[in-house]
Structure formats: structure tokens, C-alpha cells
Amino acid sequence: MSGTARYRLLIAALALAVLVLFLLSLTVGPAAIAFSDSIAALFQGEASEIGLIMREIRLPRALLGLMVGATLGLSGAVLQGYLRNPLAEPGLLGISAMASLGAVLAIYTGLAAAFMLALPVLALAGAVLAVVILQALAGARGNPLLMILAGIAVSSFAGAMTSLALNLSPNPFAALEIMFWMLGSLTDRSMTHVWLAAPFILVGWAMLAALGRALDALTLGPETAASMGVDMRRVQFLAVFGTAASVGAATAVTGAIGFVGLVVPHVLRPLVGGRPSRLLLASALGGACVVLTADVLVRLIAPSRDLKLGVLTAIVGAPFFLWLVYRTRRSLA
């Protein structure tokens, strides 16, 4: 089977998996609702109890799971392609760390208690600030090494400030709330969260998806890519702003969810023949699968204990890495 045919098959399989998992996510919850009833209620627009649960509780959760997962997978693939490093991930640029800091400040100052949207808005502001600092530090010239260093600086700063907030918190309840938020969760998100995050996420996707060809050319190094017509400044701009918009908005509504942006592109890379442009769509779909699966598991495994999403993605992600190590060892031996 040719490479292109294999790729098409992979995309079809992933898309199917996303669809199945999305439907599964819609049907898992404390209320025992029959599958056909739940799907019907989605479309019926009536104000019945089932309809409300489906439209206002389960639908936003499934939508966010899909959007956040796709965002993490896509931005992970872009960053790995841009930095030509298979260990890059969305957190490297410090954008999710700054978004978390914004959210933490919202909780810490009590704004989050006063206005329901204060937390996501401040988190988005954190992401914007991260980008401003990144551009100021690394410049617009498009040197990936500078970008990594700037990202580490921003990320460390944000982490330190967050720890400081936790440290100085006079209220143990606030400290606990901060900690739990940072573990990542999709619980009880509403359509308001979806409408808030969607525009940024979609804009981010558009920017990141435009980088396919440039990332392919970057396989041969930045100089050769430039000689083949790639505008490195445009690549940096799209990569950084696209990540900021999409990952920033995703972190703003769900907290920090790790591992997905790192593991998904890594695992799917051999299946797309290593081509960065093909990895973009595959990783987006793969990321959506992982987050939707984790969110379903959160509700199935321990419905009463409020397991955090970030914990599950780490539990799912770690064995993948073990398998990667094992496979790499075998191929090196």
C-alpha cells in the first residue's frame, strides 16, 4: 500500500475513533439515559430534563474534550516540526504556564468567585502576555533556539509565580482550589466556556494548519528551508501566535493537561511516514481521541472521586513512553 493510501486510511480510522469517542462522551454520566434517547434529546430542542442535561452539561463537555484534545495534538505536532525536536510540546513556550498563572491569580484574588468568567478571561490574558514576552525576548527573526530559551524563561517565571501564590495563600481553600485547577478538568464546563474558547481555538487552528508545507521543508534544516522559499519569520509568527491562541484558550477553560501534546505526535509520526505536514491532521485527531478517552475514563473509573483529567492523561501517556523506549532500544540493538 502506498504511503498516501496508508495515510488516508489512518486519517479515516482516527476520524472514526473521534466520532465514536465523542458519542461515548455524550452518553456517560450520572444520569442513566438510554443512548437513543440522549442523542434524540440533543436535537429536539425541548426543555425536558434529559434535553437540558444533554445540551447544557454533556454536549459542552464533549465539545471541549474534542477541541482541547485536537488543540494539544496539533500544537504539539507544529512545535515538534518547527523546533525539529521530537521532545517539544506545547508547554515548552511557556504559554500554558502563563495561562495557568492568570487563572491562579483569578482564584487567589477572589475574582473567580465573583464572576464566573473571570478565570478563563484572566487565563487568556496570561497567554497573551506570554506571547508578548516571547516576541520581545526572542525577536521576530525566527531562530528556534532563541525561542526555546525564551519559552523556558517564561515558563519558569510563571511556575515560580504560581508557586509563590500557593505559598502565600492565606486560605487553605484557595490553595486547594488552585492545585486542583492545575491538574486539569472538564467537569461541569458549560456552553459559555465553549463559546468563550472556540473563536481563539479556531483562529489558532487556522494559523497552525497553514504551516504544513513549511514544516515539511524544515525537515532539511532552517537554511535549506529558507532557500526553498520558506519565510522563517512567518513560520515563527504563525507557530507562536497559533499556539498562544489555541493552547492559551484551551488551558483557560480546562486547566493544564499534560502529555497529550508530547506523546500523540510522537506515537503517530511513524504512521504518517515522518512527514510533518501529514502529522498535523493526524495529531489533531489523535489528541482529540486521547482527551475524550481520558474524560470518559474519569467518569467511569471513579465517578465519585472527581479524578482529574491531567492525572489520567499522564497515566495514559507514561506507558506510551515506556513502549517508545522499548521500541527504540530494539531498533538500536
Binding site: 450520572p30 444520569a31 437540558l52 452539561i57 468567585a113 487553605p172 461541569d188 459559555t192 465517578p303 465519585s304
Partner: protein, 290 residues
């Protein structure tokens, strides 16, 4: 026919109606008949104040003896885990929550047209009085609430009438946390006639007290909590520090009833009584010298 919860398609009208009803001088609406509480403190207040069959569900923490004073009573109610879908399915006409309950959950419940009343953690006996009266107001059980407030006031009077021991106390919790000025624990100490070492040190709110300062302050009584969890934690390492052990040996230790102090409620007074009794006993015996 009572005021039923409206369809989610007209939440705005509902809130308008709720606002109007609050603005009106006397509540014309009937008392809530199906109350769900999702916070351990509102759980207990509701259990104390609600009428027969009025309270439907309390949170899972209400049956945890480490957090709740009324775990046995909690068994009589349905359990909820503070999740929106679960609570919505119970069709409550009133939900009681804390100001630190998940913003997403509270927001979602309100979006679904459920009435949610939030209570801030109590930091003083005034707050406790206020919360009791407010719960009484919300549940239309003002008589019962007034009863509880009267009991509280009587208890406080009893405490105040007892001879002043002039002893000092330090609360020393896991991770070296103590409670300074502006906390419920501080108020409890005052009610028990004790001087709070942390307040004297100038600590406001919950803060950490270095073991050194604690040793220098030589509190007459050291109160500890959070020692009874089955699972160990590094946070409890400070309790095995030799300096702390010496402090304990030199002074008097009291294990305060923690669940009584987490939530501000009538039973919070119990903690003050325990401390006052301990202080009185300690004065009778000699302070042990190393």
C-alpha cells in the same frame, strides 16, 4: 401548586422573578421542599435547621468523620458529589453551596435555572450567627434558626462567665500552620478565655509559625489537629520534631475536635468548651518542667 423550576429557555425571567421576590418585603413564595447541599458546612447547618423532609441531599463529606460533626445524621440523606448533572437530576428547588465550591459547577447549575445560594466560610461567631439566620430565612425555618442562635448566645455567655485563666494557647497544625487573627479558631480561643499566641505574634489568617518562635513563646497549651488520617503525609512530620515533642512535654497538649472547627455552626462552641475545660484542669495541676 408550588413555584416549579422553570424551563431553561426562560432563565432570565426566572432570575427577574427571583429578584422581585427578594425585593418584596415579605417572602410570598413557599419554603423550598427539596434542598440539596453541596458543601460540608452548609450540609451541617441544613441538617440542623431543615424541617422534616425538607433536606434531600448532603455532600459526601458530611459522612466523613474527619470533616463533619454529624456523620451519623448524614446517613439519612441522599449523597451527592457536588457535580452539576447529579444535582440537577435531584430536581432541587434550592442548592446550598460554599463560595469556594467549584465555580464551573455553581455557574452551570445557575445556567440550568437552579437557585444556588452561596455561603462564605465563617470567621467569627457573628458570621456563624449570620449564616444560621440566613439558612433559617432560606428554608423558612426562622423559629428553629432563632432557637439555635439563642443557644449559641447562651453558650457564649457561659463561657464568658467562667473565671479567666489568662493562659495562652497555640494551634499547631500540619505543615506548621497556625491560625491568627481573623480566623474562626482565634474566635474560639477568645471565647474560651485564652490568648492566642499567633495573634500576639501578629499573624493574620492562616499562617505558618516557625517552630523556633513557638518554642520561644512557650504557650501554656498546644492544640493540635489533623493527626488522625490513616494515610501518612509529610505535612505531619512537624509533629515528630524533637523540639515540638519537648514543647508538648513542657506544656499541656489538647487535641481539639477538628470537625467542630472547620465549619462555623452551633457545635463550634463545643471546641471552646473543650479548650476551657482543659485550661481550667491544667491550671489546677502544675505545669510540668523539663
Amino acid at each position: 401548586m408550588k413555584c416549579s423550576h422553570p424551563a431553561a429557555s426562560v432563565p432570565g425571567l426566572f432570575f427577574l422573578a427571583a429578584a422581585l421576590s427578594v425585593a418584596a418585603p415579605a417572602p410570598a413564595e413557599p419554603a423550598p421542599q427539596r434542598v440539596v447541599s453541596m458543601n460540608v458546612c452548609t450540609d451541617q447547618l441544613a441538617m440542623l435547621i431543615a424541617g422534616e423532609g425538607q433536606l434531600h441531599s448532603v455532600s459526601v463529606l458530611a459522612s466523613d468523620a474527619n470533616s463533619s460533626v454529624m456523620p451519623k445524621e448524614a446517613a439519612a440523606y441522599a449523597v451527592n458529589h457536588a457535580l452539576a448533572e447529579e444535582i440537577f437530576l435531584m430536581r432541587p428547588d434550592l442548592v446550598l453551596a460554599g463560595t469556594f465550591s467549584s465555580r464551573a459547577t455553581v455557574g452551570l447549575l445557575r445556567l440550568l435555572g437552579v437557585r444556588v445560594e452561596e455561603f462564605a466560610p465563617a470567621r467569627s461567631f457573628d458570621d456563624i450567627r449570620g449564616n444560621i439566620l440566613r439558612v433559617g430565612e432560606l428554608l423558612d425555618r426562622q423559629e428553629r434558626a432563632n432557637e439555635l442562635v439563642a443557644e449559641l448566645d447562651a453558650g457564649l455567655a457561659t463561657l464568658a462567665a467562667a473565671p479567666h485563666t489568662g493562659r495562652s494557647i497555640a494551634l499547631y497544625d500540619a505543615n506548621s500552620y497556625t491560625a491568627g487573627k481573623g480566623t474562626l479558631a482565634n474566635e474560639i480561643f477568645h471565647a474560651a478565655g485564652l490568648a492566642n499566641v499567633a495573634e500576639t505574634m501578629g499573624i493574620t489568617g492562616s499562617g505558618r509559625v516557625p517552630l523556633e518562635l513557638l518554642v520561644v513563646a512557650r504557650p501554656d497549651i498546644v492544640a493540635s489537629s489533623f493527626r488522625d488520617y490513616d494515610a501518612p503525609a509529610l505535612a505531619q512530620e512537624n509533629f515528630v520534631h524533637p523540639a515540638f515533642a519537648a514543647l508538648e512535654a513542657a506544656g499541656q497538649t489538647v487535641a481539639v475536635p477538628v470537625p467542630n472547627m472547620i465549619c462555623g455552626a452551633p457545635f463550634t462552641l463545643e471546641a471552646a468548651f473543650v479548650l476551657q475545660r482543659a485550661a481550667a484542669q491544667g491550671k489546677a495541676g502544675d505545669r510540668k518542667r523539663p
